[in-house]
Symmetry: C2
């Protein structure tokens, strides 16, 4: 007898959970349309080489990697960006810029399962390629705000940082690019002591430590403090200006930015500029996040292309909705069961069912051959609106019996008038 | 530099293809609602043991199998039925019957790629558990008809068979169950000579050969011929009666059944009764198919439960739509670009964009910082309806300039009246 368990870290979504996830997916797709992002579908199985090219040690070590029957080393995608970067250097290569691309689907990471974190999870992914202006960065934040608003979530906040500030300081202190990446990885895990150990020069260590300790006040106050602190580090200063501009554009349109954090880093090696996350108080893990990655497309063989992107954890958003008791819009369509009184009337009853369905009524046909009382009792339990009872006598007069299951009332109705009756 | 290729047998869907696939997925979901099927989401990665339990040698040998980091042997689902069977014996165990369950998503088989056949493809899957009545079988055919009609396909036909007829004859001739499965597998590949070789007794071979050669006439005529031919084989006779009843119910509701084929077998070992496929003349491979499998749930440790199911190849349906030049419904929503005349007006222009989006207008914000002429030229190429130009002078009067890109006309409009203007 085969196992009844799902694979560790994966789970079934029962109807209510599936409905919520689909609702969130639907809102993500609507958001993509409202912001002019074109949807593409990329394979779930990709060459390991592609997925590992720039995703960072952290994610590389947690991919589902295997060989297909053709001995190719492949992996399940842990995110969408590598696939989109590939597309932008192949099929979408000659598309005019800006290029806005949307994807949605499941992704896979071998993480330790915890609340809201599974090994199979769903993301919507937005990439905007071709612009290095702050309004492009702001757009990633704004569309995330639009998506969360559309799901009905009330209580969420944004956290913003800028990789360019930290890299700007480290570069000017002659810290090697790879060491910078290692430092950012440690910071992402909040292992600050480990991060500092990677820096040889005392002066640089002090500079970084001071930067990371800047805190407090409004997001604008923190951003201003950062700018002041990095005076003299040219690239870091430009980055701080950029951060301020993005912050201004995002908040002007009503995004709830709670903090600007100089110590904020994100797990993916490819970020080069602004980074952000969005959180709810009920969960330790972010509902979504993204940022700017201006050198990624080059890595995939494309022309140097500035780009900014964001991914949203759709099943996490669904979980947050549940925790914030966000109600789904209720369905309006009426539902019916259709019950033939005897077996000889099945074909006629099916025809009536088809007519109702073609008009948009959800119909469960009585397939159990139960006695009328049992069938009605079952329909009542399922909270169906109407029972349509197909009997011989009524059929002769082109009629059926319609029972309102909530009101316990029944009337005989001409089949030609049935839709009117049910749609009221 | 990483590879630019997708893994062999997998492909990217560009915006137009993705839109068509999403349209078909949407129609499948609507069909599930119209027929009262509840949607569940099951993992894409399942224990190998589960997926291989009853899916037949044919599919087993073509699964993507691997070990996860916890040394568990897992595989990518080649179909949905095993996962649904698991659910029906666990989380959905105490749900009242009939139980109608819907799933949709990608599935994976290591097939030789050809037109319409990829190693990653999309299925919608409908399972109706608890009924052994012919109206349940008919429902699987009817809902397939509804789905195909809803996609706009015009030219498709159904082919129906019945595993019970063949198994009925073979059982009464004392052919072992396993040998029967092997025979059906050969038949599915149209290797009839190989199939006959598996039968020891001459009498049985002759009986089967005669059965498979029955052909011609209308579906009803063929079904009647089958019934007559198997007189004396009790189980086969009952199966032939069942086939006739299902055929009657399906055609009464207008399903285009083209043929009843006594030699028709399907690749999955678990079928026990009626089986069917739906085809278009443009493709060699079926757009969907299914049938009855009354012993499957037991295999997964559940109570003996009659069941009937159907899976539809959604990307194949999308391909057939393309070949039959089926037009997608055109979008009605208006689109706009919003262009700030100078950098200082970005925040105001973003606010106006948000207002439009919240009202359902798709807005591409000018993120390239281009000169007005260039930006308008680009908007024109993208076939956007309106350009909203945000300038200082107009803003002072709470207005913007709206340019109708098709008509080459522009007017100054109060921001409060902007939505009216654009939605006309």
């Amino acid at each position: 007898m085969p196992t009844f368990q799902t694979v560790r870290g994966m789970r079934d979504l029962l109807p209510e959970e599936a409905e919520t996830l689909n609702f969130v997916i639907c809102k993500a797709r609507e958001t993509s349309q409202l912001y002019g992002y074109k949807e593409v579908v990329t394979p779930l199985v990709e060459p390991y080489e592609l997925l590992s090219a720039k995703s960072g040690e952290e994610i590389r070590s947690r991919m589902f990697i295997f060989k297909d029957l053709g001995d190719r080393t492949v992996a399940l995608r842990p995110e969408f960006t590598a696939s989109i970067a590939r597309l932008s250097t192949t099929a979408l290569k000659s598309e005019p810029k800006p290029l806005r691309v949307f994807s949605v689907g499941s992704v896979y990471r071998y993480d330790e399962p915890q609340r809201g974190r599974y090994r199979e999870f769903w993301q919507s992914n937005f990439e905007l390629m071709g612009s290095n202006n702050p309004e492009a960065d702001a757009e990633a934040i704004l569309l995330t705000n639009s998506l969360l608003k559309a799901t009905g979530l009330r209580d969420y906040t944004f956290k913003i940082g800028h990789i360019g500030v930290i890299r700007g300081v480290l570069s000017q202190e002659n810290v090697d690019d790879k060491v910078q990446s290692a430092i950012l990885q440690r910071m992402d895990k909040k292992e600050y002591d480990e991060a500092f150990k990677l820096i040889e020069q005392e002066k640089c260590r002090t500079a970084l430590r001071g930067l990371l300790e800047l805190k407090g006040g409004t997001p604008f106050e923190t951003a201003e403090k950062i700018k002041k602190y990095v005076t003299g580090y040219d690239k870091a200063e430009a980055a701080a200006d950029n951060l301020l501009e993005i912050l201004q554009l995002a908040t002007a349109s009503g995004c709830p930015v709670k903090t600007v954090e100089p110590s904020f880093a994100r797990g993916l090696e490819y970020y080069t500029g602004m980074i952000f996350e969005v959180n709810v108080p009920e969960l330790d893990i972010a509902l979504g996040g993204g940022g700017r990655y201006d050198r990624l497309i080059e890595v995939f063989g494309g022309e140097s292309t500035p780009a900014v992107g964001v991914a949203h954890g759709l099943d996490r958003i669904a979980l947050a909705m549940q925790m914030q008791k966000t109600a789904l819009p209720t369905r309006r369509e009426k539902t019916a069961v259709v019950i033939p009184v005897k077996p000889e009337l099945k074909a006629e009853a099916l025809k009536i069912s088809q007519m109702l369905r073609e008009a948009g009524v959800s119909v469960e046909f009585e397939v159990m051959g139960r006695k009328m009382g049992k069938a009605l009792e079952d329909a009542d339990k399922r909270k169906v609106d109407y029972a349509v009872i197909v009997g011989e006598r009524e059929l002769k007069e082109s009629s059926v019996v319609v029972r309102d299951l909530a009101k316990h009332e029944q009337t005989t109705v001409k089949i030609a008038k049935l839709l009117e009756k049910i749609r009221v």
